[in-house]
Amino acid sequence: MNGVHDMGGMDGFGPVVHEDDEPVFHAEWEGRVYALVGSALRAIDVNVDEFRHAIERIAPAQYLASSYYERWLSALETLLVERGATGMRARDAVASRAETPRRARFTPGDRVRARNLNPAGHTRMPRYVRGKSGVIRRDWGVFVFPDSNAHHAGTRPQHVYCVEFAARELWGKPANIRERLFIDLCDEYLEPADKLRKTAKPKARNRTR
């Protein structure tokens, strides 16, 4: 989903503020939430992608008004309530079925384009790379596909690659030529960049109305 959590490239959040001698937890409840999440999610069979998506589903205004562990707490409450509706039993373990990994479509050096995907559910491809071209730098091997795994719709195992983007490709010409971005993207997020880009064309007409 194109949520407010997908904040790469956003302006308006002000300078980064550094806290000296910061404690691990700023209140006792933060530690309890941290520990509870890890333990409870395992007990009710919630995978990490599903947990991340529960955080993303927090209403945008609440998301921005909450601290990190407050968001963890809200997400945990949401998942428990949702699971509670099914008696807190684990869901069918679709995710644990052995699925055949897709073969790697790309190898290091390949030019790729991040696809213009806008799924309604969970995804790990941020908006700021979509439609942009880069180069495969590493093949990290096969991983679960977050977009399906978050919804217990199969693990769809596939290769994840480290893809390099020039800052100018992402942010336009004023960007520093000595800045590059590396991001790990699933095979399904990518398409070859060298094939002619097929843009969806409005039919040629003379007037709109």
């Binding site: 959590h5 997908d6 904040m7 790469g8 490239g9 956003m10 302006d11 308006g12 959040f13 002000g14 300078p15 980064v16 503020v17 550094h18 806290e19 910061e22 691990v24 937890f25 209140a27 006792e28 409840w29 933060e30 530690g31 309890r32 939430v33 941290y34 520990a35 509870l36 890890g38 333990s39 409870a40 007990a43 991340r52 921005l64 601290s67 990190y68 407050e70 707490l73 945990l76 409450e77 428990l80 807190m88 790990r124 491809m125 941020p126 700021y128 990290w140 991983f143 977050p146 480290c162 992402l170 520093n176 000595r178 800045e179 590059r180 971005l181 590396f182 991001i183 790990d184 993207l185």
Partner: protein, 223 residues
């Protein structure tokens, strides 16, 4: 963050967490003692000191450095470091020409086994939003101004790989041993928002007297 007033309110997070823990222990889904152990682990055992040991060893042991850059998960495992969010560690090396910076724009993924839990600034919206589009500006927020000629590489850890920056070993530390070096390595330097500084005073004097030697040694730490 001032969460103090929350603790007082019955609907604040502290009360909600307490209620949740009671519910879940009651249902037999979690055990309070297990939670205690997790909190204790991250408050006292896992933290940036782990990463600092890794960095110091890489600075002083060229073969270890190679293994770390090749397979960081295995290399930190040699030091007994492992755990959640540490299954796919990747070490990225700073050089005089390349500076690396790690962020997670979508949430706040972080290499827990080597750095502990992330600080508030790493989880802040300011950092998550601007690290990818204005890394030099973000580094300036931390007081770090890099020369224009230095390339910045930003790593957005959107999948399961977790990144550890191997900072440059500072000048003037040629006589320090691994344990002394580990004391210099800060958390911020291993995320890439700071450089490691040589210790002031004592170390600077040492640095001066070792000027000749350093030339050679630094050559050996090059990427």
């Amino acid at each position: 963050m001032s969460d103090d007033h929350h603790n007082a309110a019955p609907t604040g997070p502290a009360a909600r967490v307490k209620a949740l823990e009671a519910l879940l222990t009651d249902k037999g889904l979690v055990k309070s003692e297990a939670l205690d152990r997790i909190v204790d682990t991250f408050e006292h055992k896992v933290g940036p000191r782990n990463g600092a040991r890794v960095v110091a060893k890489a600075w002083t042991d060229p073969e270890y450095r190679k293994r770390l850059l090749k397979n960081a998960t295995a290399a930190v495992g040699e030091l007994g470091i492992a755990g959640p969010e540490g299954g796919h560690l990747v070490a990225i090396e700073n050089t005089p020409r390349v500076h690396n910076l790690v962020v997670c724009t979508l949430c706040s993924c972080y290499p827990w086994p080597v750095l502990g839990l992330p600080p508030v600034w790493y989880k802040s919206f300011a950092y998550r939003s601007r690290a990818v589009s204005d890394p030099r500006g973000v580094l300036r927020d931390f007081g770090l101004k890099l020369p224009d000629g230095v390339e910045i590489r930003v790593w957005d850890s959107s999948a399961e790989m977790r990144y550890l920056v191997l900072p440059e070993r500072p000048r003037g530390t040629e006589r320090m041993n691994e344990n002394e070096l580990a004391l210099l390595v800060t958390r911020d330097s291993m995320v890439g928002v700071a450089k490691v500084s040589a210790p002031d005073g004592r170390a600077r004097d040492a640095a001066k007297s070792e000027r000749k030697a350093s030339t050679k040694k630094r050559a050996s730490t090059k990427g």
